[in-house]
Amino acid sequence: MSAANRRSLWRGAGRLIVKRVGLALVTLLLVSAVIFTISGLLPGDAAQEVLGRGATPEQIAALRHEMGLDRPAPVRYAEWLADIVRGDPGQSLVANKPVADIISERLPNTLTLAALATLVSVPFAFLIGIASAVSRGRKLDRALNIATLSMVALPEFLVATIAVLVFAVELLWLPSITIVPKNPTFAEYVRAYAMPVMVLAVGVVAQLSRMIRAAIITELDRPYVEMALLKGVRPLRLIFRHVLPNAVGPIVNAMALSLSYLFGGAIIVETIFNYPGLASLMVNAVTSRDMPLLQACAMIFCAAYLLLVLIADTIAILANPRLRQA
C-alpha cells in the first residue's frame, strides 16, 4: 500500500469516525431525554423510596427538598445535562455517593463478564458457523442447526437454573452464585465465572453461529468462490483466505449486537448468579428512583452499543478495500 493510499485510508476513517461520534452524541441526547421522560412517569420518587411506606408527608417533603426533587423536571434535566457535558454524572440520590464512584465499582464487573463470555463464545460460534456453512444442507449442518436451535429455544433463566441445580447443588463442582474473591487464583477465577459465562455463551454462540453461517453462505454463492474452487483451492483455504475477509462486515455487525446484549442484557444472569453488574445496578436505580444513577447507566449502555457498532463498521470498512478507499 502506498503512503498516499494509507493517508487517504486514515483520512477516510477519521472523517467517518467524526461523523459517527457526532451522530452518537445526538443519540445519547435522545436516550437521556427518553429516559428522563419515562422515568418521570414512574410512581413515587427517590424520597419516598428511601423513607419507605411508614414515612410522614412532612418527612418526604423535607427529603425531597434536600434532594432537589421539588424543582420542575425541565430544570433538573437541564442541570443534569450541564453537569454531564462537564463530565460529571452527579451525585446518587440514594447512596450518598458520586455516581461516578458507583459506576466505577460495577463497570469492571460487567466488562469482565462480557469479555469472558465473548472470549468463550466467539471461537465456538466461528467453529460451528463455519462447519455448518461448509457442510450446508448435509447431515452435520442439520445436526448443528438443531443443536444451536435448541440452545436458543429455552428461556435463559431456565438454562441458568438447570445449570445451577446440576453443577452447583448436585455435583458441587461450581459455586451457584458468582463471588470473586479478592486476588483470586486462576482456578478460583475460572470456578467463579464458569457458570454465568456458560449461560451467557449458550445464547450468544447459538445466535452468532447462525449469523456467521448465513454470512458465509451468502459469500459462498458468489462467483469468486466458484472461481477459487476451479483454481483447486481447498475448503479450509477457501473459507479463511477467500470467504471470511469478505464476510467480515455482517459478522462483525452481528458480533457487535451480541456483545451489546452481553453488556446490557445480562440482567437475568446477573440476578440468578447474584452478580453485581451494571444491569442490576440499573434495575436498582429504577426501583429506588435514583435518576442520576439511572441516567448514567443508560448513557453507558447506549454509548457501549454505539461504540460497538462504530467499531464493527470501522472493521467492516477496513476489511473492504472498496469502502476503505471511498
Binding site: V50, R53, Q59, S92, N96, P175, I177, N274, P276, T287
Partner: protein, 514 residues
C-alpha cells in the same frame, strides 16, 4: 359481653404465653449449650440489597440493613425469644409511670475506634430521630421522646410525651441502636456492636470482623461474616445448598422439602406475626359495605392458603393482626371458617354479587398474588367476578397499596402489640390500611398504654382483637412462618419472631462447629 369474653380469655392467654415462652427459651438455651467456639468465617445471604444500603441505623429499611446494624452496633436493650426488651447497653431501665424512664448505662463499653460510650452518645442516638433532616425511619416513634437529659456519668432520664409501657422493647429495635455523639456521616461505621466493619459496598456486600473488645465477654464467636443479598429465592436456596452461603432467610415454603432432604442443611421455622392482608377501603361504597367485607372474610380459604401457598408453614389467622406468638394473643375468638355459602348469602343480601372489582396484588406483598388467585377462584364459584391485577413490586407501596378499593398489604411482626395497633389500626394512623374509624378501638388503645397492669392490658388488647376481627376492613387469612435455611455446622441459633436471622440478630449468638 365484650368484657366477659376478654376477662375470660386473659388468664388462659397468660398461661399459654408463658408456656410458649418457656419452650422458645428452652430451645434457645439447649442449642446454645453446645460448646461455643471462637472462629470460623461464614457468608450469609439476605433478600435485598440496593444502593440505598446504609450504615446508619436510623435509615435501615431492609432486613439486610437490620442485620448489618445489629452486627455493628448495640442497643440499650435487646430482644429475647418472646420479644421482650432485655438489658443491653442499658444495665437498668426503670419507670414509675411509663412516662419518665431512668436508664443506667453499662460501664466500660467502648466504640470500635476505642472511644468510651457516654451518656451523650445515647442521648444523641435517641433524639436525632426527631430531626426530619436525619431521615429516620422511626421518626413517628421517636416523636414520643419529649426530652432526654443526663443525670449522672452513666445515667440519663428519658421523658415521653405520654405513657408507653413498651419502651424497653421499642429501644431494642435496630433503628435505636447507639451511635457516636454528633455522628452524621455514615460513610464508615463506628459502633459498640459485636463486629466491626471491614468492607461495605452498598448493594453488594458487607464484611465484618469479630470485635475482640465486645462488651459481652467471650462473644461473639465468628471471626468474620460476609453479608450479601440474593434477591431471587431459588438462587438463594441454591447458594445455601451449594455451600456458597451458610445461612439464608426467607426460604420459600416449597423449597423446604429440598433443603431438609439434605443431610448438611436444615430449616428453622420461626412462627411470627407476619401476615398478608386483603384491604377493603372504607372510602369506597362497595368495600365499605359490612356485608361485603364479611363475605370476603368468609371467602378466605385459610386451609388451602396454609397448605398450598405456605406448605403448612403458617398459622391460620382470624382477621386480626395479633398472632399466637404475641403474648397478648386472644385465643378465645372463634375461628372464622371458610364458608362460601355464607359469603354468597351476605353478598346477595347486600346486593353486591354482581359488582366487578379489581384486586391489586404484587410480589412485594408476600404471596398476595396467589392469595388473590385463590380468592378470585372461589369468588368466581359464587358468581362474584374479581380481577387480580398483578402489579410489579416496584412502586407498589407508593402507588397501589391502600389506593384502590381492594389491595393487598403485608405487615411484619412488630415488637409490641401497641405498635401494631397504633401504626395500622388507629383511626388517625398514617397506615390505617382500611381507613376505618372505630372510636372504642381508639379509646382502648390509649387505655392500654396508660395501664401499668400487664394482665389488664392483655384484656384490653384481647377486646381490640375482637373488634378488628368483627368490624375491621381487613381479611387476614394466615400468619406466615419465617423460614431460615442454615448449614448444620452453624450452631447457637434460636428463633426470635421479629424476623429471620434470629430477629436479624444472629451474629451475636451463632458459632461455627467445624
Amino acid at each position: 359481653m365484650v368484657d366477659l369474653i376478654s376477662t375470660h380469655v386473659s388468664r388462659r392467654t397468660l398461661l399459654g404465653g408463658l408456656a410458649a415462652g418457656l419452650v422458645v427459651n428452652g430451645v434457645g438455651i439447649g442449642t446454645a449449650l453446645g460448646q461455643p467456639r471462637v472462629g470460623g468465617r461464614i457468608r450469609v445471604a439476605s433478600t435485598s440489597a440496593s444502593m440505598a444500603d446504609t450504615l446508619d441505623p436510623a435509615k435501615g429499611g431492609t432486613a439486610t440493613d437490620y442485620i448489618r446494624h445489629y452486627m455493628l452496633y448495640s442497643g440499650l436493650t435487646q430482644f429475647d425469644g418472646r420479644l421482650r426488651g432485655r438489658p443491653g447497653l442499658a444495665e437498668r431501665i426503670e419507670t414509675q409511670d411509663n412516662i419518665v424512664w431512668n436508664i443506667r448505662l453499662r460501664r466500660g463499653v467502648h466504640f470500635h475506634n476505642g472511644k468510651p460510650l457516654t451518656v451523650d452518645d445515647v442521648i444523641f442516638s435517641l433524639m436525632r430521630h426527631r430531626d426530619p433532616a436525619a431521615g429516620s425511619m422511626v421518626k413517628a416513634v421517636a416523636d414520643q421522646f419529649a426530652s432526654a437529659k443526663r443525670t449522672g456519668p452513666l445515667d440519663l432520664q428519658l421523658r415521653l410525651n405520654g405513657p408507653n409501657p413498651d419502651l424497653p422493647a421499642i429501644l431494642a429495635v435496630s433503628h435505636f441502636l447507639i451511635v457516636e455523639n454528633g455522628r452524621r456521616d455514615f460513610g464508615r461505621a463506628n459502633g459498640t456492636g459485636p463486629y466491626s466493619c471491614s468492607e461495605f459496598s452498598p448493594g453488594i456486600r458487607t464484611i465484618v470482623r469479630r470485635n475482640p473488645n465486645y462488651w459481652k465477654p467471650g462473644r461473639p464467636y465468628l471471626e468474620e461474616i460476609e453479608l450479601i443479598a440474593i434477591p431471587d429465592e431459588i438462587s438463594r436456596v441454591n447458594a445455601l445448598l451449594s455451600g456458597d452461603v451458610q445461612m439464608v432467610n426467607a426460604v420459600g415454603p416449597s423449597s423446604v422439602k429440598r433443603v431438609r432432604a439434605t443431610s448438611t442443611h436444615s430449616i428453622m421455622e420461626i412462627p411470627s406475626g407476619l401476615f398478608t392482608d386483603l384491604i377493603m377501603r372504607r372510602d369506597n361504597p362497595v368495600t365499605a359495605n359490612p356485608d361485603f367485607v364479611l363475605a370476603m372474610k368468609y371467602l378466605q380459604d385459610r386451609e388451602l392458603i396454609k397448605r398450598a401457598l405456605f406448605r403448612g408453614f403458617a398459622t391460620i389467622a382470624n382477621d386480626h393482626p395479633i398472632s399466637p406468638v404475641d403474648p397478648n394473643f386472644n385465643p378465645d375468638i372463634p375461628q372464622r371458617p371458610f364458608d362460601p355459602d355464607r359469603a354468597k348469602f351476605l353478598l346477595k343480601r347486600s346486593g353486591l354479587l354482581g359488582v366487578r372489582l379489581p384486586v391489586y396484588a404484587a410480589p412485594a406483598a408476600n404471596a398476595s398474588i396467589d392469595m388473590g388467585s385463590v380468592l378470585q377462584e372461589h369468588a368466581a364459584r359464587i358468581g362474584l367476578k374479581l380481577a387480580v391485577n398483578r402489579m410489579p413490586s416496584d412502586g407498589y407501596w407508593a402507588t397501589h397499596w391502600m389506593k384502590h378499593p381492594m389491595t393487598f398489604g403485608n405487615n411484619n411482626q412488630r415488637p409490641t402489640t401497641d405498635m401494631m395497633f397504633s401504626l395500622f389500626f388507629q383511626s388517625k394512623a398514617l397506615s390505617n390500611e382500611s381507613g376505618w374509624n372505630n372510636p372504642r378501638f381508639d379509646r382502648l388503645l390509649l387505655e392500654a398504654r396508660n395501664t401499668t397492669d400487664a394482665v389488664l392490658r392483655k384484656q384490653i388488647y384481647g377486646e381490640m382483637q375482637w373488634i378488628v376481627h368483627q368490624y375491621g376492613g381487613l381479611a387476614i387469612p394466615a400468619f406466615i412462618s419465617l423460614l431460615d435455611g442454615y448449614d448444620r455446622r452453624l450452631k447457637g441459633l434460636f428463633p426470635i419472631p421479629l424476623g429471620g436471622f434470629m430477629g436479624y440478630n444472629f451474629a451475636e449468638y451463632a458459632w461455627w462447629d467445624a
